[in-house]
Amino acid sequence: MKLSRLSAITAAALLAASPALADLVFPSLSYRTGAYAASGIPFADGYADYFTLVNERDGGIGGVKARVPECETGYNTEKGVECYESTKGEGDGALLYQPLSTGITYQLIPKVSADGIPMHSMGYGRTSAANGKVFEWVFTYPTNYWAGASVAVKYILNENGGDISGKNIALLYHNSAYGKEPIRTLEELAKKHGFSLTLLPIDAPGQEQKSQWLQIRRERPDYVLFWGWGVMNQVAIQEAANIRYPMENFIGIWWSGAEPDVIPAGAGADGYKALAFFGTGDDWPIFDDIRKYVVDAGKAAGAGDNIGSVGYNRGLYAAMLAVEATKTAQELSGEKNITAAMMRDGMEALEITEEKLTALGLAGFGPTFKVTCANHGGPGLGAIQQWDADAQTWSIITDFVEPDMDVLQPLIDEDSAAYAAENGIEPRSCD
């Protein structure tokens, strides 16, 4: 009796399927635990809160409610696969995946392409997925790592009057697919601009960086570019402060430039720079709506204490782009209950204009751009933001600038061609 009841519960738990509702399903593969939780929690909160706002304020997207089932991956690829498989069939089928982990993204690219579900890896993932002719189901707009590397170098060029030959730039990176992404681009840029590139890998999770910083202390590179994530960021910024490395010459990628990364180093982090592809702070009208409809209504995801932080804004931005693509898809197809295939078409036709941003209460929050069939990567615009330790704020100190596409485009073409050849993909023709 007892055993049979136990096995019944077991079977029920394994089979547990959520009720089928006609909702628009946007699964959130979040990580609120593990070494990357500090970066993962605000993103997941922002992502969920924006959909809650759209549901509460507008009654959904085009009148259809959005549902965001969350699945904890802990940044682990095996759990990511489990999450993908368990959420893809929810409701009428998942519309979009944003895995927020380079490892899981690589894992899922072939799977989503086979299953016909679009994936949006905003500012991360496989950079060459910008080539929409090969990666039909994968989108990386508005920017990617290679663009980030190029924008950082452009910024350094700008600071040095256009000449950085003979300078020494070090890349301090997470020793994984994520951290290795910009190396190829930086090598090309080093050739073009004549700077020397020092590579300093840090093994995950990244608490142990003493030897790398010893090397930086010895060689004193003119600039340090930093591709870190999670707990590794705080350690690096603390170490930089410890050896008194000039913070204004220490530039992180956008994943290394959020509040949890700099606050632990206190005043030492003052002047640290990071790339950004959207605005910082909570001075936009949309945050009033979020407070009114989501937080005050007690519907905020998580603890509700991340609003306006960089990670939160990134989640919000990702959700906003997803909602806008859904609206585009609804217009294109004339259907309210869109399918994953319609969603893909909507993403490919997405256009973010200044009017749209203003109407959303996000005027000037991010750059305007247009996605096309051939270019899934967007324009790759990036800006530099700087941390003010006294005011505890990030502020954007440059315009959004374009990356050096003369260097990037051949790399994208080469890498995506290699992927197409490896996997027997015939590139689509785009006109």
Binding site: T10, A12, A13, L14, A16, A17, S18, S30, R32, T33, A37, I41, E70, C71, E72, G74, N76, T77, E78, V81, E82, E85, S86, K88, G89, T102, G103, Y106, Q107, I109, P110, K111, S113, A114, D115, R126, N175, S176, A177, Y178, K180, E181, I183, R184, P201, D203, A204, G302, D415, A418, E422, N423, G424
Partner: protein, 358 residues
């Protein structure tokens, strides 16, 4: 009652020495195999394949390998993750260098490569024992992961160090790549695991297995009665690594399809497989399967229960799941230090006597 021995007569040595001496047990085994091969493939979907069955089978394979080394031969190893990485990278290099080579042989050859590497790292076992050997194999773990991250030749000079498994077929049926059908990948893994488990069972009760167990129980005594410790230990390392290499190859090609060495084959993988054999039962073939199923399915089960069933926040569920898994591991080790397989063995003993225990 259930396990009746009355009327079950053995008339030959072969019959007396068989794996399942009780008729009921034997038939249960046949039925289980028949269900695994003939029923399950027709009813599984993507979720059951990718989240439940294939990982259990592959981890069972790895656990079998480690059980041969640790459970049967008594050589403590923490290098499982590294050896799985060898299997995965060997299969990647073979798949990309010889596209026409059948995936079945790719996986066997990957096992062979891993056996060679395992043999190499088994050499210190001749001089050092126990915890000291564990540290030596730990070095193997870190060295191998470092190597695959450092040398671009292993990942074909790709920009990111990620390796991706191309699509390959077995008898014209896709078994790797994103479009492989669930039944095909499941059956492919099951085929390997079935053959290897059968081989392991017969190895461990044969001459070689007895030598391993003699070394495990008392190496000096074993040497005195004529066991060659060099041969016994190195064969255990080679065969164990062969199994683990095959598991790593299947893990990469069939299950994940893409991998990154630090993330997929880190030290936590070594510990996971070690926990599997400790919980399942050291020195038991069945234990390898039970342990793998326990460690793979419990988190999935708890996740579905907490998040899917009770609608709790995912982070609470994830933390609670760690607590519960850890607690259960401790509980099992206190209640039954010989693992779940021993519990099953005791249950069978009891059922054979039931309802008249003495």
């Amino acid at each position: 009652m259930l396990y009746r021995e009355a009327g079950d007569f053995k008339t030959s040595y072969a019959a007396d020495g068989q794996t399942f001496p009780i008729a009921f047990d034997r038939w249960g085994y046949y039925v289980a195999i028949a269900v695994a091969f003939l029923v399950i493939p027709f009813i599984i979907d993507d979720y059951w394949e990718k989240s439940v069955l294939v990982p259990v089978l592959i981890y069972a394979m790895a656990a079998l390998g480690l059980n041969i080394l640790t459970g049967y031969c008594g050589q403590l190893s923490l290098g499982t993750g590294g050896f799985m990485a060898v299997g995965a990278y060997a299969s990647y290099k073979l798949m990309t260098a010889f596209p026409e080579l059948n995936i079945f042989f790719v996986i066997l050859l990957s096992g062979g490569v891993t056996a060679g590497v395992g043999l190499l790292f088994g050499l210190p076992s001749l001089r050092i024992k126990g915890f000291y050997l564990a540290v030596a194999t730990l070095a193997a773990q870190f060295f191998l992961v470092w190597l695959f991250n450092k040398v671009p030749w292993f990942y074909n000079y790709s920009a990111t160090g990620q390796i991706n498994a191309p699509t390959r077929t077995f008898f014209g049926i896709e078994v790797t790549g994103p479009s492989a059908a669930p039944w095909a990948t499941y059956l492919f893994c099951l085929l390997f695991v079935f053959i290897f488990a059968w081989a392991a069972r017969n190895l461990t009760r044969g001459r070689l297995g007895r030598q391993w167990m003699a070394i495990r129980d008392m190496d000096i005594a074993a040497e005195i009665i004529g066991v060659n410790p060099l041969m016994a230990k190195l064969s255990a390392f080679a065969i164990s690594s062969f199994y683990i290499g095959v598991a790593g190859a299947l893990f990469f090609t069939v299950y994940l399809g893409a991998a990154e060495v630090g993330e997929a084959f880190g030290i936590d993988k070594s510990f996971l497989v070690l926990f599997m054999i400790i919980i399942g039962g050291l020195g038991s073939i069945l234990g390898s399967f039970i342990g793998a199923a326990f460690m793979v399915l419990l988190p999935v089960l708890l996740k579905n229960l907490f998040v899917g069933g009770l609608d709790w926040p995912t982070d609470v569920a994830a933390h609670l799941q760690l607590v519960i898994s850890g607690g259960l591991i401790i509980l099992f080790l206190i209640v039954e230090p010989h693992g779940l397989a021993q519990l099953w063995r005791l249950l069978k003993e009891k059922l054979r006597l039931w309802p008249f225990p003495h």
